[in-house]
């Protein structure tokens, strides 16, 4: 055999084929003498979106089996919540799915409000909708940047993070923090939005519209990007439903299930928006659905700003919400309430509820058990990333290993939510 270097390079170049490598069909029986080997991917790997470890069984370049191994960022948040008063546990649950913190906080607060039987003022509901939808855009932007990065479109990361920064600036204006704002309280929100927030938000949505057009022009007309997504990772709708998958992944198969429409909460029934769905259920559909969702979220934000009702931003029930700061100087009752709430917290009557909302990744359920004390007896988050991760095996099996990276990217798992 001649050395490869002895061949003239022009001849070697001609022998390179640019044809698509056809992966054998999924589920074909493996020949007993065919060589299978196991490759460990992660937990520290730039393409796993966190500390996700995958045990891949490969036959050549074709993935035969993938086993996700998780638990590397398990921090026992659910256990820690049992030792915190309800209003302090909000800080903990926000850190589960760290890109969708408003959703975690909402699911927990709404569950506690239902246990208390507490009404949330309309203005607080609208403010919550504005922040949740801005958070959805921020989460999808981060997904867009990191996914495009995995597929080789490096410049997309900086551009989407540039736009995400504008949203974080808005969060900083309203809540004082850029991440994990703890803006949602039981009974409403922490503070009213400051002057200038509305104008800045409208500026953002106006800018973002053209930016999304630019990103689509950049990615959708890139042949490499499209070919790597189209017809890859198709899983049938029935299988996905059996696997408990929800959110953009199930909508990419044509299912119109969206909790904001199906079981409206937080006055989502007041807004007009559409549910983007895909047709085939491949990675390209998943990408298109999320892009379209960002546009719909901006419509909701604008409608909520247009129709923002006047009134209190948090409930007037002093047994649940802190009294306004200025009352402390003049009212003894306010001082007592403030002291009781801060030292002991409010007590929640016994019961258990399961509150489900539509997070950027699917159904985010919060299960809270109250035993009558000021600390929850059990807080459980049904995190969409955790459940959706089970579909990675079906997406990646029988495909090439390069498509496994695309599958993880389009799955959009957040390891903080998976491990909790």
């Amino acid at each position: 055999m001649s050395s490869p270097l002895s061949t003239p390079y022009r001849e070697r170049e001609e022998s390179v084929t640019l044809e698509r490598i056809e992966a054998p069909l999924a589920g074909t029986a493996v020949e007993p003498d065919a060589e299978l080997f196991t490759v460990n991917m992660g937990p520290h790997h730039p393409a796993t979106h966190g500390v996700l470890r995958l045990l891949c069984t490969l036959e050549g370049e074709v993935v035969r089996d993938v086993v996700p191994l998780i638990g590397y960022v398990h921090t026992g948040i659910e256990k820690s919540c049992e030792d915190q008063q309800y209003w302090k546990a909000i800080t903990f649950v926000e850190r589960m799915d760290y890109l969708a913190y408003y959703f975690n906080a909402y699911a927990f607060c709404a569950a506690v409000e239902r246990l208390l039987g507490e009404e949330v003022p309309p203005r607080a509901q609208y403010l919550r909708v504005i922040h949740m939808e801005l958070n959805r855009i921020a989460s999808h932007l981060f997904w867009l940047g990191t996914s495009a990065l995995d597929l080789g479109a490096i410049s997309m990361l900086w551009w989407s993070l540039r736009d995400r920064d504008m949203i974080l600036d808005l969060f900083e204006m309203s809540g004082g923090q850029r991440l994990h704002t703890r803006y949602f309280q039981v009974g409403g929100v922490m503070e009213d939005i400051p002057p200038g927030f509305e104008r800045k938000t409208r500026d953002f949505t106006a800018t973002m519209r053209t930016r999304i057009d630019q990103y689509e022009a950049l990615l959708d007309e890139n042949q490499i990007f499209v070919e790597r997504l189209r017809d890859v990772g198709i899983v049938s709708r029935e299988r996905l439903k059996g696997l408990g998958v929800s959110g953009p992944l199930i909508r990419a198969t044509g299912d119109t299930w969206d909790l904001r429409k199906a079981m409206p909460y937080c006055s989502y029934e007041h807004f007009e928006f559409r549910i983007p769905v895909g047709t085939v259920g491949d990675h390209y559909d998943r990408y298109r659905v999320r892009i379209a969702e960002m546009r719909e979220s901006m419509r909701i934000v604008e409608q909520a700003l247009d129709g923002l009702p006047e009134g209190p931003y948090i409930t007037n029930n002093r047994k649940v919400a802190l009294p306004p700061r200025h009352e402390l100087a003049t009212s003894m009752e306010a001082l007592i309430h403030h002291f009781k709430l801060v030292t002991e917290g409010f007590r929640v009557p016994p019961g258990e509820v399961y509150e489900a909302i539509e997070s950027p990744r699917g159904e985010l359920g919060c299960f809270v058990v109250a035993d009558g004390s000021s600390k929850p007896a059990r807080v459980h988050m049904r995190d969409p990333s955790f459940v959706n991760l089970q579909s990675l095996h079906d997406m990646a099996q029988g495909e090439l290993i390069a498509d496994l990276v695309a599958s993880i990217a389009m799955l959009d798992p957040i390891l903080g939510g998976i491990d909790r």
Partner: protein, 176 residues
């Protein structure tokens, strides 16, 4: 949304199909309907509710564990069923003592809903409920060699030694 009357009708249908003692209690709380069933009957009840019932449920939204300590029977597994057509949720709950949970009486539902795989592993990991018939029941979040089930209410918070260079010889079995 299932109202209290509808819940009683569901309970009657389940009792008729699975057995008179299968449903122990019906709970309607803050608009949420829950059936409390016997641990052995969980699989049959969920199979009936998803396949044979007049108004079937097609989606298992969540499976999670709970510890009602100091109440007895203290451990519980919750199943959240969802009908995407009627937009209804129904909770199925089963409560058991620690002995029953560890003896492997609760049947797995992974054959009906593959989504229960991770969630049952998680419940086994955190609460020590052994699901009968689960093919690959193992710890999910905690290390393989971990002892105890940390989400139980009598499991203390804290007490995990943090490994630093200065104390690595004092932490037992760190080198194994």
């Amino acid at each position: 949304m299932i109202d209290p009357t509808g819940l009683e009708l569901v309970a009657r249908a389940v009792r008729g199909a699975v057995g008179e003692g299968s449903v122990r209690e019906t709970i309607h709380f803050r608009g949420e309907a829950t059936l409390d069933v016997r641990p052995d009957d969980v699989h049959e009840v969920i199979r009936f509710l998803t396949a044979d019932a007049d108004e079937p449920f097609d989606f298992l939204a969540s499976v999670h564990g709970c510890d009602y300590f100091p109440k007895e029977p203290r451990l519980a597994v919750h199943y959240q069923l969802l009908s995407s057509e009627r937009r209804e949720r129904l909770g199925v709950r089963t409560r058991m003592t620690v002995e029953v949970a560890e003896s492997g009486t609760v049947p797995t539902v992974t054959d009906l809903f593959p989504t229960a795989d991770f969630q049952e592993k998680e419940i086994f990991d955190f609460f020590g409920v052994r699901f009968a018939g689960h093919e690959d029941l193992r710890r999910l979040h905690m290390p393989e060699d971990y002892e105890g089930h940390p989400q139980r209410r009598d499991f203390p918070i804290g007490g995990e030694p943090v490994l630093y260079t200065y104390n690595e010889h004092e932490v037992p079995r760190w080198y194994e």
